[in-house]
């Protein structure tokens, strides 16, 4: 018996989140005398999963599955789970993971616990801690079905190496006709996404206008960070919706979140709560964000940010 994980790849290469899912499943497997099998689509570097405790990879090499198709992907994960007699399936929390998990849960007749942040507190019955109320609280959730699906919250467990002998098998699931197809994909290339980013630099209305985002992007560049924004900024059309962070936007679970000119409305703070370290730069010392942040600079963003960029460049030059 094994734990099945879905490991997402892009252009044939596994995403970092896949290694976190692997690390998490390997830790559960070790506690329960199980092994970890991964199912992946058109992935070239499956061997690297051995570093994170995966002993078998079912790699689906199928041109028809080169583009994401939720129904076909979910069917494939189901077939892999049946083949491995898996009673636990673990996915991450990317856009695709969140698309697939509830579908897989229904097909597998398994209870689904999303946004899970730590190892199970017990496995029989399965009890896991997950975030709720947009990170304003945790809920201890018990799964009462024989099988379970866990959605692991991003950046909640980290990568843990566990060198394991890993074999890769070609896996050919039965594929049905699908009435959905991808017409086009529009994705910025060479830009760090909020979902994958370890550092996020975010701007608010304090920046006064979209023309002032140059320094936000430059700061993000220096740090290898993704850019984000507050709700008013996206509502005003200064920045695309995809960058809106908060309760009705995206959650951010990065290692470092830098908020510039963002006052820190409760809905925004909820969305960034899962980030490990928060820095706020704001000229208003009364801004609520200072109560939620780890480090703060009270000052004019238009003076502080350019200086910070210069100093970080210096720091990077001396530390690489």
């Amino acid at each position: 018996m094994s734990i099945l994980i879905y490991t997402e790849s892009e252009n044939g290469k596994l995403k970092k989140a896949a290694f976190e899912v692997a690390s998490y499943a390997a830790a559960i497997a070790a506690q329960n005398g199980l092994s970890v099998t991964a199912v992946s689509f058109n992935t070239d570097d499956t061997d690297t999963l051995g570093t994170y405790g995966v002993s078998k990879v079912l790699n689906v090499k199928n041109e028809n599955l080169s583009e994401f198709n939720a129904t076909l992907y979910a069917d494939t994960i189901l077939q892999a789970a049946e083949k491995e007699t898996a009673t636990l399936v673990v996915l991450g929390s990317s856009a695709n993971d969140k698309f697939l998990a509830p579908m897989v849960a229904v097909k597998l007749n398994a209870g689904y616990a999303p946004n899970v942040v730590s190892l199970p507190e017990s496995t029989n019955p399965l009890k896991v801690k997950r975030t709720t109320f947009t990170n304003k609280a945790f809920a201890l959730t018990q799964v009462d079905t024989e099988k379970a699906v866990i959605g692991l919250a991003k950046n909640s467990f980290g990568l843990k190496e566990e060198q394991t002998t890993c074999t890769t098998e070609d896996f050919a699931p039965t594929i049905v006709e699908s009435s959905s197809k991808v017409l086009s994909t529009d994705k910025a290339t060479g830009k760090v996404t909020i979902a994958d980013a370890e550092i996020v630099v975010s701007g608010g209305r304090g920046l006064k206008g979209p023309e002032n985002w140059g320094m936000i992007e430059e700061l993000a560049d220096v740090l290898g960070a993704a850019t984000a924004c507050s709700k008013p900024v996206s509502d005003l059309g200064w920045r695309p919706h995809g960058e809106h962070v908060g309760q009705t936007g995206k959650p951010v679970a990065s290692n470092l979140y830098i908020a510039i000119g963002i006052s820190g409305a409760i809905q925004h703070l909820a969305g960034v709560n899962a980030s490990k370290v928060k820095v706020v730069i704001n000229n208003d010392p009364e801004a609520p964000f200072f109560k939620a942040a780890d480090y703060g600079v009270v000052g004019d963003a238009f003076e502080v940010v350019p200086q910070l960029i210069e100093k970080l460049k210096e720091y990077k030059a001396n530390n690489t």
Binding site: F68, A70, S94, A95, N96, F99, A101, P102, M103, A105, V106, G111, Y112, P114, T131, T132, F133, K136, A137, F138, A139, L140, T141, D144, T145, S179, S180, K181, V182, S184, T185, D186, K187, A188, T193, I194, E198, I199, D235, H241, G242, H244, T248, L256, I266, Q267, N273, K276, V277, V279, F290, K291, D294, Y295, G296, V298, E303, K311, L312, Y315
Partner: protein
Amino acid sequence: MKILVCISHVPDTTSKINFANNDTEFDKNGVQFVINPNDEFGLTRAMWFKEKQGASITVVNVGTADTEPTLRKALAIGADEAIRINATPTDGFFVAKQLAKVVADGQYDLVIAGRESIDYNGGMVPGMLATLTGANFVNMCIGLEVEGTTAKATREIDGGKEEIETTLPLVIGAQKGLVEEKDLRIPNMRGIMMARKKQLAVLEPEAVEAQTQITSFEKPAAKGDVKLVSPDNLDELISLLHNEAKVI
């Protein structure tokens, strides 16, 4: 086109989150409830289909009688009729099963549910409902056009978007972007008066067992005070981020 919009009744986004009964349930004391924002984006898009393409809109909620003002608000915004499944929504699977029955009985072409409710953030009802009813599914939907039985949907992906062609019956997980914030409608007096006369059917639930249960809640540990760094001493900030926080 028959549209079903699934409505969650959730605490307003500014609510303080507290728990009662030994931290086993959400404390509703003094909390304002609203239409789940993701559902409201969906309802607003449904209104577009109603006005431009003559669609009919039914709104549905799985909840006890105290959710009815939220359904009435959806009627005041412009939905034609409402259904309340008279049950406490114990988990996402339970809710999806109840909705699947409504979908099967009503033969809806398009089902719109918010990507997630802002209270429990499960994000599971739309995907479960689509799978239970055998409908196509597009999650995190930020654009939707329907012509005949063909739908073109845009979904948000990590770092971009993707356009999908699919067919009805279809379930979408709605979110901001499907309509803009400024397009949201505040019910006017006429809408509110008309909503009183619209049908709100109360149906008893199917016998379904929940698959999961929340045994307790807890709040995150209190945070320490912010460390302030002078704007004239940004080297210190870099040093703190490197040596203390270890994030750069």
